[in-house]
């Protein structure tokens, strides 16, 4: 079983019970915190002898002094027939009030340790602790795999909201949660009798009656040299039994003292098992230090958070699980499709490919990549491979590469299609590694390896055109991704530009439909968004959404995009034809790799054409006046200086620190944006040396030109774009 399977199934099953233990544990953490406020801790240098003297003075009939892990002193006594337990001020022996072991109802603790089921429940609780330990270990393995190693553990987490909650919270509390499981197991081991803490019996010792009067506790040499902070418990000798002894317990062990001579009659060192157990109790309960109890309480409560987010993650993955229809058995298939998918969306593309090939008369078999093989009937093989984290294979296909490297190549062409996200430094790295391995083994290919960015249906269709040509068949890949729930957006205002080359462009502003909390929790309506996120718009007459970068966040109260007329573009035509008051259906797709983190570092924004939109959104929300520097490239200031007036205003307000504009189609316009960067090389270097974060938005050619220019500009700093990307300081939004 893989770590992922262990983590998922233990979490979903036993995790449900772990929630009970976590929440009750969080409640139990109240006790140490509350007790810390009830009584002062004993001063560090106070000896036991003076404490005994004070206590005998103020508490008649004192029988036992306990030094609690919190540092407070409790004295047990009898007032007549009534047993008493009181907090005592160690400084003057004053009685401060009654002591209670816990302010909580007992069932809370019993639910926590035995699920209210007695001994069977204790075994159950220990089993849950063991399962939680395993969940923690598997979580660490998965976390390191996801983040790409120890060095990148602190890096930004990407993924859905539930994934981010799960991973970010896990990073913080994993160690404490694991410690809690280990200490729980340590405690269970002795309670369930698996480990004996101390098999010795107490020595049979008696005070030797000599006729002399008993010594007062304050005069016992042992108690004079023993500090209260080392004391656990001191039992006074019984008033009615002349042979009884003093009994003193410390972390090191326990001793018996003659009440007449003050001699230590016997001493037993604490066993290793006992010390380990004591340490486990302190770490598990937080009773020795209330701040630790607070930490434990929060960690206990976080189990609920993990479970909830874990269930959501599992549910999301399940919804995207592969359901391939019309699969031909392997032996009869002439076309094989192998899939490596992390979230499950790649299977949807495989289904589209399978359907299209089947329509052309092929018998197609689709399977997971780890099953890679060919048969006598095989004529074509396609591998659709997503990349996970730092260029790794999706978990289910983690050994596929080695498996393929061991196979002997045949004459059947194997074509690789990668899926990934350009924002990750290792975009499609796994697909490329697969392709290299296959070529090195000598497998032919029908088409060179191609990488699909962000599950783009359009790019997939283009690959389909190339495939149809290569196969010589009328194949059409019309991939219809599952569209998330959409919301209706109404156009508030539009700002029209003639566009640089006669293609009309407009900035469209839609009203943001505010959602109630209930609707948001149920996932209804439009998700919250920030500038740089994407809005998916499904034009009438199409099932495939088009994505636009957002120039505003939900806090702005509106949703703004910049749309340029694409020749024959269904969606841009639809959007540019909208009148104020018209509405569209849309959904939000977060783009966490591009969004700006909260930062005091300088921000270098580089945009061309409509690519300035998300950058304008960043500047608009720059209430903290982070130094933002914008390089804007257009063609003609009279035609395509999008957001021009706003940008000038933001410059005046200090939201934008500096502005450099270049226009390529006017005399002395300055050329392209990369020319401006090259001219400002000194300044760009200085900004990057200060730790600047870089965001680039525009067409692919522009983004490539900018990256090449910056590689040259940054070379003296021993830096380049790849290194900045790896440090998450450089992100592109490319269209």
């Amino acid at each position: 079983m893989s770590w992922k399977a262990i983590h998922r199934w233990l979490g979903l099953t036993i995790g449900t019970l772990a929630v009970v233990l976590g929440v009750t544990g969080a409640i139990l953490a109240i006790d140490p915190v509350q007790q810390a406020w009830q009584a002062p801790a004993a001063p560090g240098d106070l000896a036991v002898a003076p404490l005994v003297e004070r206590v005998t003075r103020t508490v008649p009939g004192a029988e036992e002094i306990r030094h609690l892990p919190s540092g407070a002193i409790v004295v047990f006594s009898f007032a007549g027939d009534q047993p008493q337990a009181s907090y005592v001020d160690p400084v003057d022996g004053r009685v401060l009030g009654a002591w209670q072991a816990s302010a909580l109802p007992r069932w809370v603790k019993n639910l926590h340790r035995s699920l209210l089921l007695g001994d069977a429940g204790r075994w159950g609780a220990a089993g849950i602790a063991l399962a939680m330990g395993l969940v923690c270990v598997s979580a660490l393995v998965l976390l390191l795999r996801r983040m790409g190693g120890w060095q990148r553990l602190a890096a930004r987490v990407r993924g859905s909201l539930a994934q981010r909650i799960h991973v970010v919270a896990g990073r913080v509390v994993l160690a404490v949660l694991f410690l809690t499981s280990l200490t729980a197991l340590t405690m269970s081991a002795s309670t369930l009798g698996l480990v004996a803490l101390d098999t010795r019996t107490e020595p049979e010792v008696l005070s030797v009656v000599t006729g002399k009067p008993a010594l007062p506790g304050a005069q016992l040499a042992t108690l004079q040299s023993l500090a209260v902070q080392d004391l656990r418990k001191l039992n006074f000798p019984g008033a009615t039994d002349p042979e009884d002894t003093w009994k003193v317990a410390t972390a090191q062990g326990q001793g018996w003292i003659d009440r007449y001579s003050g001699q230590m009659l016997a001493w037993q060192d604490a066993t290793f098992a006992q010390r380990a157990y004591d340490l486990a109790v302190v770490l598990h309960t937080g009773e020795a230090a209330w701040p630790w109890a607070v930490v434990l309480g929060l960690v206990g409560a976080s189990v609920l958070l993990f479970w909830l987010s874990g269930v959501v993650i599992w549910w999301q993955a399940r919804r995207q699980a592969p359901h391939i229809t019309g699969n031909t058995p392997l032996a009869q298939a002439d076309v094989l499709i192998f899939v490596a998918s992390e979230g499950g969306s790649t299977w949807g593309f495989a289904q589209t490919l399978q359907d299209a090939l089947s329509q052309c008369g092929h018998r197609v078999h689709t399977s997971a990549l780890e099953n890679f093989r060919t048969t006598a009937a095989t004529r074509q093989v396609f591998v659709l491979a997503a990349t996970y984290g730092e260029g790794q294979a999706p978990a289910h296909a983690s050994h596929a590469l080695e498996h393929i490297a061991r196979l002997n190549a045949s004459a059947v062409p194997v074509t690789v299609l990668g899926f990934g996200d350009r924002q990750f430094p290792a975009f499609c790295a796994f697909a490329e590694a697969l392709d290299q391995t296959l070529r090195a083994q000598g497998w032919p290919t029908l088409l060179p390896v191609e990488c699909i960015h962000q599950q783009s249906g359009q790019q997939f269709a283009q690959w389909g055109v190339a495939l149809a040509q290569a196969l010589g068949e009328p194949l059409v890949l019309a991939h219809v991704p599952r569209v998330p729930p959409t919301a209706k957006l109404t156009l508030m205002a539009r700002q029209d530009y003639p566009g640089a080359t006669g293609q009309a462009t407009a900035i469209l502003r839609f009203a943001w439909p505010a959602q109630g909390l209930g609707a948001r929790l149920r996932g209804h309506g439009l998700a919250r968004f920030a500038a740089g996120d994407l809005v998916g718009i499904v034009p009438p007459g199409s099932a495939v959404p088009r994505y636009y970068s957002l120039a505003s966040g939900w806090e702005d109260g509106f949703l703004e995009i910049c749309v340029r007329q694409m020749p024959g573009g269904l969606c841009s035509t639809h959007l540019l034809g909208l009148q104020t008051g018209d509405s569209i259906t849309a959904f939000i797709r977060s783009n966490p790799g591009f969004a700006l983190p909260r930062t005091r570092r300088p921000v270098l924004l580089i945009g061309a054409g409509t690519g300035v939109a998300p950058l304008a959104g960043f500047i608009r929300r720059n209430d903290r006046r982070t130094p933002m520097h914008l390089y804007f490239g257009g063609r003609d200031p009279a035609r395509d200086f999008y957001f021009g007036p706003e940008i000038q205003r933001w410059l005046g307000e200090g939201r934008l620190a500096t502005l450099q504009t270049v226009f390529s189609r006017v005399p002395d316009g300055g050329g392209y944006v990369q020319d401006a960067l090259r001219r400002d090389a000194e300044r760009v270097r200085s900004l990057v040396a200060q730790g600047a974060i870089v965001r680039v938005c525009g067409g692919r050619a522009m983004a490539q030109g900018v990256a090449e220019t910056l590689d040259v500009v940054l070379a003296p700093l021993q830096l380049n774009v790849a290194k900045l990307k790896a440090k998450e300081r450089y992100a592109e939004d490319v269209f």
Binding site: E63, D81, S102, N110, S190, G193, A196, D198, E202, E204
Partner: protein, 158 residues
Amino acid sequence: MSKPLLTILATACALALPALAHSRPVTLTAQLKNYGGDGAYLAAYLTDAKGAYVRTLWVAGGKAKYHKHLSDWSRLSAGDAKRLDGVTGASVGAGRTLKVTADLADALIDAGYEIRIDAAAEDMRDSPSEVRVPLSKANAGKPQAGKQYIQSVTFQLQ
């Protein structure tokens, strides 16, 4: 004679006697107070006129880890390897009653022997020799109060 040897002899007699001489069942009933804690651990045992341990009558509470909190019993009975054989049961909840029966030789009655009960509960203080009842005909059926946990304890001779 050394003390352990005496103890063993006494134990042997007490255990062997019933087979030879007359013995009778003794029912011990302990009613617990509502002391507001988890189930109490109790150890009822017999000591002789010199206070030496004779035999264990009953131990309520099965976790050996906590038996040291029944400190007098734990210490006194340390030499008795069979002290738990057939005389253990569950801990006794606050306000509940423990009722156990033991066969005791006639010779033990009115001979200075004592029934002692040690008591302890989690997070509360240990109460060694919570109650001590001389094993005499005169005491039979007379309730005795304990120090902390036991409301009353009574033994009946049959």
